[in-house]
Amino acid sequence: MRLPACCEAEANPGGRDMRREEVYAQLAKVSDPELDEPLTELGFIAGVELDGSAVTVRFRLPTFWCAANFAFMMAADIRERVSELPWVERVDVRLQDHFFEEEINSGVSCGKTFVETFPQLATENLGELRETFRVKAFLARQERLLRCLLALGWSEDAILAVRIGDLPGLAPSREGTELAERYLAILRERGLVGDADAPAFVRPDGRPMEPAAFRTELAHAQRTRLSVEFNAAFCRGLLKTRYGETDPNLPESGVPDEAHPRRAVRRGVE
């Protein structure tokens, strides 16, 4: 049941921090589409402000010129995820220091589509672009796991015999387990986990991987993964150069250290 925000805040002084944690937990579900990493991990979230049932999320990117379509996707995803919280009635997204910040902020906060936000510049919404980058993310996650298995001495035949149901306990190392979890998550996202006995290593559209094409596809996926990682390294470096080492979510924002929401989210994940 939902309590009126004002009553709850008064009755429960800790409620505010709990809500902030809930917001950060939702933000952890939003990824940079090019880098396939959560905004909370990338340091893109510049701050969260709560005012009753209204939430303002400020975010920032590594450069003034980061592509507008990806920036819009992140802004729209922030709004969507935070709006899922039952007590939230209003979400303002505030992209900062960006060439199209005004257009994106007003468009997303009013719930407009990309075409509605940029009627002169866009011909379609971002579904196709989003799918292109989910495919890249799929290939990169799959490649990391395949490399890990090959390094552990698995043969190609053994790899191609892996079933979806085998994935959770597949790799013995902690790193391997994490890679398998991330791969499984994107299989799930793409609706490819229906049958636990189906082959685990498939193409992004679910078609099986041909044994004869295994090495070629692996090489292609490797280039995709390298591109994603190279970009991620560059972007992390540029963000640090642009804004320094400080984490805006640390105590200066008024949150006591022990209740630091990002840490809380991390605890929840681990």
Binding site: A67, F114, L226
Partner: protein, 339 residues
């Protein structure tokens, strides 16, 4: 000239350099400020600490400073000026062919002057391209598809007018087309960094060479694929090379891919001066060895011969430069006396 420990001399051509004016006096708006701010972060992020400039110097540096950095200290023997006009962001432009030509006049043995065009300029732009070829004898152009022009925020190489400009380039013998992708394009919902339009035009214009700046980063995977298919597609290593210092492993992985997919004959060294100083890039690149596991996995190596090609011979071939002749012409020029 870079001399190896063994006494071998390498003739170095820097494939991408600028002499820009991004001073506040020349900035037209926040986009001009944002453009140079972004470059400055690239510069600060990937340069060794002792090479980091202050903001004011980075916004505007003198021709003398450029000559000292690049030719006197930076091992470079020749540099290719790649103009970037950005007249919607800077009053007099960021760096135009005309501005660059002034320094080339002083050191004709040292600079290759490229021009630029924009398909949105229509017929008038075709005339301008012709005048660049006639007045300056340009052999190449730098194209920036993310350039803003009024309400337009970019263009595509396959636009009908772009094809007319490419035909004109063929007609004029302007055969080296340097392509630089940026963050905006028409339509805005497409991936601006996508390189597939290069594939299309490279097939249509076999008489032209397409040098893809930054090797298509951040879309390296697509670039490798295209460059393998098209014999007239080359990779410009600006932005890639500085990683040799901050992320040598990534640099090795990218180079291994480029050498395998694109090939040692089709990669061009570039500092993107003044974003990065060529001295440390050349030093670190010469000292760099491709890790053995990557050599084994890809079946490629980065030998002295390969480095020579990347650092100068490939660009010399594209621009019709006979290195031995050029060395003689430079032997007693104003810059030779400063060395």
């Amino acid at each position: 000239m870079f001399k190896t420990d063994g006494g071998e001399e390498l003739f170095i051509i820097d494939g991408h350099m600028h002499l820009w004016d991004a001073s506040p006096e020349n900035q037209l708006n926040k986009y001009g400020a944002g453009f140079i701010g972004c470059f400055y972060d690239y510069h600060r992020n990937l340069s060794p600490a002792e090479y980091v400039w202050d903001t004011a110097l980075f916004q505007k540096y003198s021709p003398e400073r450029m000559v000292k950095d690049v030719f006197v200290e930076g091992y470079v023997d020749m540099g290719i000026f790649q103009p970037t006009y950005l007249k919607d962001f800077y009053k007099n432009g960021f760096n135009t062919t005309e501005q660059n030509s002034l320094l080339r006049q002083r050191h004709p043995e040292r600079f290759i002057l490229n021009g630029s065009w924009d398909p949105r300029d229509g017929e008038a732009g075709l005339d301008y391209l012709q005048s660049l070829a006639e007045n300056y004898g340009i052999q190449g152009v730098k194209l920036y598809t993310a350039e803003w022009k009024g309400n337009s925020k970019g263009w595509k190489l396959t636009d009908p007018w772009a094809l007319r400009y490419l035909e004109k380039c063929e007609e004029l013998g302007v055969k080296n087309i340097h392509v630089h992708k940026g963050p905006t394009i028409w339509p805005l919902n497409k991936d601006a960094f996508e390189v597939h339009d290069i594939d299309e035009i490279a097939t249509s214009f076999l008489g032209l060479n397409f040098i893809v700046e930054h090797c298509g980063l951040p879309r390296l995977e697509d670039f490798c694929w295209i460059a393998t298919q098209e014999r007239n597609v080359y990779g410009g290593l600006a932005v890639v090379m500085p990683f040799v210092h901050s992320r040598p492993r990534y640099f090795g992985e990218v180079m291994a891919n480029l050498l395998w997919w694109v090939g040692a004959d089709k990669l061009l060294f570039a500092s993107d001066y003044a974003i990065w100083h060529p001295r440390w890039i050349v030093d670190k690149f010469m000292a760099f060895e491709l890790p053995e596991d990557l050599q084994k996995e890809f079946g490629v190596s980065l030998t002295l011969d390969v480095k020579k090609k990347i650092l100068g011979e490939n660009a010399a071939r594209l621009y019709g430069i006979d290195i031995d002749v050029q060395k003689k012409e430079q032997a007693h020029d104003a810059i030779a006396r400063m060395l």
